[in-house]
């Protein structure tokens, strides 16, 4: 089928195409304008902007911890009924079905679950397979697992470590590797309660820095397109900007991605010893071209924090709101679920401002990524409001006026004039995520790209405009019209498929037999376990 999206303002920074024009789709691909071709279907996009489908690189949408959050907060199920609309937690979480629908309505077509515990890979993929419409991908967590830490302790060759990482990525069907508070979850099991970049994991004698550097090198030399995805130490504590700065410095020329930098933008000034260090971090990021970051913006309201950083979640459980939490000191990373409500008090306002400062002070939209670390900073349904804050100084000024002056005095936000343009938004939410993840077939509107397209009707109200797309195409299927889902389909989970080394597989088989008394088969699964036609889409490694 030949489709023409006629007369929209096309914003495609990758191919340098900006301005009024037509976009042609044949079946599931974007094509160049056919000579004398008559469209089977014409979409009138006059007064609309046309962008590639958006990509979210860091959003916790599936897997063990997300499911535990659902179990911990069953009152949400009632809260999501149409009535009553004002129940607490009415914005803090939902089913897989809604995840796909709500993302698609905003024009998002690919979402990455960034924290899949390798042992929970099957569960995670089953859950992702239940999310309709959009494509998904996962990052596998390494860095607190006994096998890796033992190898580093025993000075294993870099080849062996690469083989292990490759096996993990292949068997868990991941698109990349994430390390969460490297070593801290292992140290937590030995009753350590704070852990920094140069601290050493008891019993292993391996520092956090060493783990990060080892994984960074392995990911790079395996040709995994996405650089090592790092959740730094000391998340959320005042003074954590020092840790983030040290981690940025530790990139040392190789690509490194720092997740949710907002949660590390905290200095120790002011009478509460909690201030914004965003300007300092932004300057460091600007000066370190091999580093990319996403923000993890905080937005006000009730949410639930879901993290495999068990040390952080353990120390945060006292601030749970409502007062209940789950801490799981499990194999590898473990994790914690702590519900939380970001109020417009000093601390909430500070966090909100720090995220925006980072967005606005980091110059290169190719290296800063649009996230709320869903649901940790805010549920992803807050994205439209966040776009508005980035694109309108007036919207920021309005909110600043409603926040404590004591917090705003310790932040530079009020003095920043920058407003994101649609072109920068297209880079930040489309082009650069595709590049970062190694997805050449999306994030742009050039001929040959898959037809993931979001069309937004221009409106003075940016939140409304970007919150309810006029049309969304996923693989050429028209799935959203005027902000409502019109067609359901199943997306794929994007994965790498490096071939595992046979000797490593044998070694892992022995390890699992000895350590758990279980066959390695328990930690692997065939594609047919996911009951969908073609559940996975393969992405190539760099060669």
């Amino acid at each position: 089928m030949l489709t023409k999206i006629a007369g929209g303002d096309i914003i495609d920074p990758v191919n340098g195409r900006v301005g009024k024009g037509d976009l042609w789709i044949r079946d599931d691909k974007i094509i160049a304008a056919p000579v004398g071709g008559a469209a089977d279907r014409t979409i009138d996009a006059a007064g609309c902007i046309v962008m590639a489908g958006a990509i979210d690189i860091h959003s916790h949408i599936g897997g063990g911890n997300v499911n535990t959050a659902r179990l911990l907060l069953p009152e949400q199920h009632a809260a999501h009924q149409e009535r009553p609309v004002t129940t607490p937690l009415s914005n803090a979480g939902w089913s897989t079905f809604q995840t796909g629908c709500l993302y698609a309505k905003m024009g998002f077509t690919t979402v990455v679950e960034p924290a899949m515990s390798p042992g929970a890979a099957l569960h995670t993929h089953l859950e992702l397979a239940d999310i309709p419409i959009i494509d998904k991908a996962t990052l596998a967590i390494l860095g607190n697992d006994d096998f890796l830490l033992s190898m580093i302790r025993d000075d294993a060759s870099s080849q062996m470590i690469e083989d292990y990482v490759a096996w993990t990525v292949a068997s868990t069907r991941a698109l990349g590797v994430k390390v969460i508070n490297a070593g801290a979850a292992a140290a937590f099991k030995e009753n350590v309660r704070t852990f920094s970049l140069d601290d050493v994991v008891p019993s292993y004698g391996v520092s956090s820095r060493k783990i990060v550097k080892t994984l960074q090198a392995a990911v790079d030399s395996l040709g995994v397109p996405h650089p090592l995805h790092v959740h730094c130490n000391n998340l959320g504590s005042p003074g954590s900007a020092d840790t983030a700065a040290a981690t940025i410095a530790a990139a040392e020329g190789l690509p490194l991605h720092l997740a949710h930098l907002q949660f590390y933008g905290y200095g120790t000034e002011g009478k509460r010893k909690f201030s914004s260090a965003a300007a300092r971090l932004a300057e460091l990021v600007n000066a370190t071209p091999e580093v990319t970051i996403d923000i993890g913006q905080v937005m006000f309201g009730q949410t639930v924090t879901v993290s495999s950083d068990v040390m952080r979640q353990f120390s945060a459980r006292g601030s749970a709101q409502p007062k209940k939490s789950v801490i799981h000191d499990g194999d590898g990373n473990g994790g914690g679920i702590v519900p939380y409500s970001y109020g417009k008090d000093f601390y909430g306002a500070m966090q909100w401002a720090i995220g925006l400062e980072l967005f606005l002070l980091i110059d290169d939209p190719w290296r800063v990524f649009f996230t709320t670390d869903h649901p940790n900073g805010a549920p992803f349904t807050a994205y439209p409001a966040l776009f508005e804050l980035l694109m309108s100084r007036e919207a920021r000024t309005e909110m600043i006026a409603r926040l404590p002056k004591s917090a705003m005095a310790l932040s530079t936000l009020a003095a920043i004039d920058r407003e994101y343009t649609f072109e920068e938004i297209a880079v930040m939410t489309r082009a650069s995520p595709a590049k970062l993840l190694g997805l050449t077939d999306r994030g742009h509107l050039g001929a040959g790209a898959i037809a993931d397209i979001a069309v937004y009707r221009r409106d003075g109200n940016i939140a409304k405009m970007l919150g309810q797309a006029a049309y969304v195409f996923k693989d050429g299927d028209l799935v959203v019209q005027d902000g409502e889902i019109t067609h359901y389909r199943w997306g794929k989970a994007l994965r790498l498929n490096p071939s595992p080394d046979k000797a490593m597989v044998r070694r892992l088989e022995d390890y699992h037999q000895q350590r758990y008394g279980l066959s390695l088969d328990w930690f692997n699964f065939p594609d047919s376990a996911i009951a969908r036609e073609q559940p996975f889409g393969e992405v190539a490694c760099r060669t």
């Binding site: 907060l73 069953p74 009152e75 949400q76 009632a78 009535r83 009553p84 409502p322 007062k323």
Partner: protein
């Protein structure tokens, strides 16, 4: 003004959510608009006028004539005035009410008085399970007010109760007062297994020795108790009981020591 009366015409075809029909939410609404309020919870989507014949005009005095176990969420969140159900009520009657009086002249379903914070709820018949208890995921159950069941109560009555008084006069099923945080539960007519299971604080007052207690309760003797005399007088003055329940020196058990262990179970020797 005459009481605003909703007379049930026939057995409803679906479960009904009556939470919009409280004194607060009906204040200032014309009768014909009241008849248009949607209360059906399924695809039928029944409106008030399909189910009830509406008469009278005083929203502070609401009467449901004729009951059904399908009448859910009667007087939910009520803050003042009075609601009377002549017949049975469904689930969550008087849930989260903060004031006023709710009288059910029949049986009530599960979660009656769930999370109520004030006011008086009286059920002349039996109550279902989870009397005054929280819904799944909520942290506290009844948080104030008075809840009287003249008949029997189902399992987990007063679960996670924090404040207020619950009185059940013809016996309760298993685990009455489980996980109580504080407050007072009175059960005459016998209890099922393990009343006070995992209670932190609070008082459970019985008219006879319980069938069983969790092994993490300890016997505390039978000292003379001013509290017993005061509560006995209070229950009679409030018209809840006719005779003293505990006497001067009731037998006392303390627990549940599996958790905080500051609760008590009292009954006459």
């Amino acid at each position: 003004m005459k009481a605003l009366t909703f007379t049930l015409v026939a057995e409803p075809p679906e479960r009904l959510d009556l939470s919009p029909l409280t004194p607060e939410r009906l204040a200032g609404i014309e009768r014909r608009d009241i008849e248009k309020i949607q209360i059906g919870m399924s695809k039928h989507g029944s409106k008030v006028g399909d189910i009830f014949r509406v008469a009278g005009n005083d929203p502070l005095d609401i009467v449901f004539e004729g009951g059904s176990t399908r009448l859910d969420r009667v007087a939910e969140g009520m803050r003042g005035g009075s609601v009377r159900v002549v017949g049975n009520a469904g689930a969550q009657a008087g849930r989260a009410m903060r004031g006023g009086t709710l009288t059910i002249e029949g049986n009530a379903g599960p979660h009656a008085g769930s999370g109520m914070r004030g006011g008086r709820l009286e059920i002349t018949g039996n109550a279902g399970e989870h009397l005054g208890a929280p819904l799944a995921g909520e942290l506290a159950g009844m948080n104030g007010g008075v809840l009287i069941v003249r008949g029997k109560a189902g399992a987990f009555a007063a679960d996670r109760m924090r404040r207020g008084l619950i009185a059940v006069l013809k016996g309760s099923a298993d685990n009455a007062g489980s996980r109580m945080i504080a407050g007072t539960l009175v059960v005459a007519g016998g209890t099922g297994e393990m009343p006070g299971y995992l209670m932190r604080r609070g008082s459970i007052l019985l008219d006879r020795a319980p069938k069983s207690l969790s092994p993490s309760f300890v016997e505390c003797g039978a000292p003379e108790s001013v509290f017993a005399a005061v509560i006995d007088r209070h229950l009679i003055a409030e018209g809840i009981l006719k005779r003293p329940l505990l006497g001067i020196a009731p037998q006392k058990y303390g627990g549940d020591n599996a958790v905080l262990g500051m609760g008590e179970v009292l009954f006459p020797r």
